[in-house]
């Protein structure tokens, strides 16, 4: 160099860390707490208007005699969904995210903080209506459920591969509208399996009740399995 300075190459610090580490660690803590308490937790994700709230409304009402259920419902604004769900008589809490397009583990942790988890069999987390952002955030759930309705295009799953790939169960809702919408069942199933070959698929209508029994029996056996596991690992409720 003309002025006699030496260009020192920068030091390289190897970090290799997941950028969402903070969320992942919180989610791990939550999962541990849910496991100890034997609560089965489902994270429901869909675009706006696919029928998450309608399905939950009916599920909460019809399973209320069997299980203690609680719901966290995320929306950018309003308490409307919580009000609708509260009609079931179960515990419901609205998380208003403001401008945030997804729920994070930290919010779930703070909203369940004063709950006695051991009294809850099943916790639904109804995520903000969005098919993109919620996919990256683990909430400590046991299963992630993605909802599409028969009025969505059959190729919609192909447009949201990240979410599909992170889901354990796909629910195709509004079965009562399938005929009017000329819904192609096989094409939707194919699209889902391209990105998640072993995904479980249920078709139902929260309006007519068609297909609900399979959904309920899925919930019953999952709750049962979760309780078994919590007893086995020596965590009495």
């Amino acid at each position: 160099m003309a002025d006699g300075t030496v260009l020192v190459p920068p030091r390289i610090l190897e970090l290799r860390q997941n950028i969402l580490k903070k969320n992942d660690l919180l989610a791990r803590d939550l999962r541990q707490r849910f496991a100890e308490a034997g609560v089965y937790v489902l994270n429901l994700v869909s675009g706006p208007g696919a029928g998450k709230t309608r399905l939950l409304q009916r599920t909460l009402t019809e399973l209320a005699p069997e299980f203690h259920m609680a719901t966290l419902v995320g929306d950018l604004a309003t308490q409307n969904d919580a009000r609708r769900l509260q009609e079931s008589g179960t515990t419901v809490r609205q998380i208003e995210t403001g401008t945030l397009c997804h729920l994070e583990a930290e919010m779930v942790a703070s909203y369940v903080q004063d709950w006695n988890l051991a009294e809850i069999d099943l916790l639904f987390i109804e995520n903000v209506g969005n098919l993109v952002c919620p996919s990256s955030y683990d909430l400590g759930e046991d299963g992630r459920v993605v909802l599409f309705s028969t009025t969505d295009g059959e190729d919609k799953p192909l447009k949201y591969p990240t979410l599909i790939n992170s889901a354990d169960l796909a629910i195709i809702s509004k079965l009562d509208l399938a005929e009017a919408a000329e819904f192609d069942h096989a094409a939707m199933h194919r699209a889902l399996r391209e990105m998640r070959p072993d995904i479980k698929i249920l078709e139902l209508s929260a309006k007519t009740g068609e297909g609900l029994e399979a959904w309920y029996s899925h919930l019953r056996s999952s709750i049962e399995a979760k309780k078994e596991a919590s007893h086995v690992s020596g965590n009495p409720r």
């Binding site: 300075t5 997941n18 950028i19 945030l100 952002c133 955030y137 591969p161 990240t162 790939n165 391209e194």
Partner: protein
């Protein structure tokens, strides 16, 4: 648009790593899988926004795209895929649920300069 949240988390992560060190961050190397659900341009823009008026302002964000990779049971080999619409092996067409790469959202390295040394040479 959760890239803003991701960028904030990245900023916090780097700040925590460098706590107590007198360094200037020159560049930040990330790995971003095509299936991470993060839009590269939105992340770059968000990073610029969240680092304004912080010690990371002006640090370069180097993002390495990672394509989707699966393990094909049929071919008994790892295969790199072109798109994100299918997990089929490009060779034999077999579907695979065994993803080996493409979900990364990872802070890999930081390139830093020690501030004191810079003053001496500067």
């Amino acid at each position: 648009m959760h890239e803003l949240s991701v960028a904030s988390d990245l900023l916090e992560l780097v700040q925590a790593e460098l706590k107590g060190q007198e360094v200037q961050v020159e560049s930040i190397h990330l790995k971003l899988g095509v299936l991470a659900g993060v839009v590269k341009e939105a992340l770059e823009f968000s990073f610029e926004v969240v680092t304004q008026r912080t010690e990371l302002a002006g640090a370069k964000l180097l993002i390495e795209d990672v394509p989707l990779g699966i393990y094909c049971l049929n071919c008994k080999a790892e295969k790199v895929l072109e798109g994100v619409q299918s997990l089929r092996c490009p060779e034999c067409g077999q579907l695979s649920g065994d993803i080996r790469q493409g979900k990364e959202l990872e802070l890999v390295t930081l390139a830093v300069r020690d501030l004191e040394r810079q003053e001496v040479y500067g």
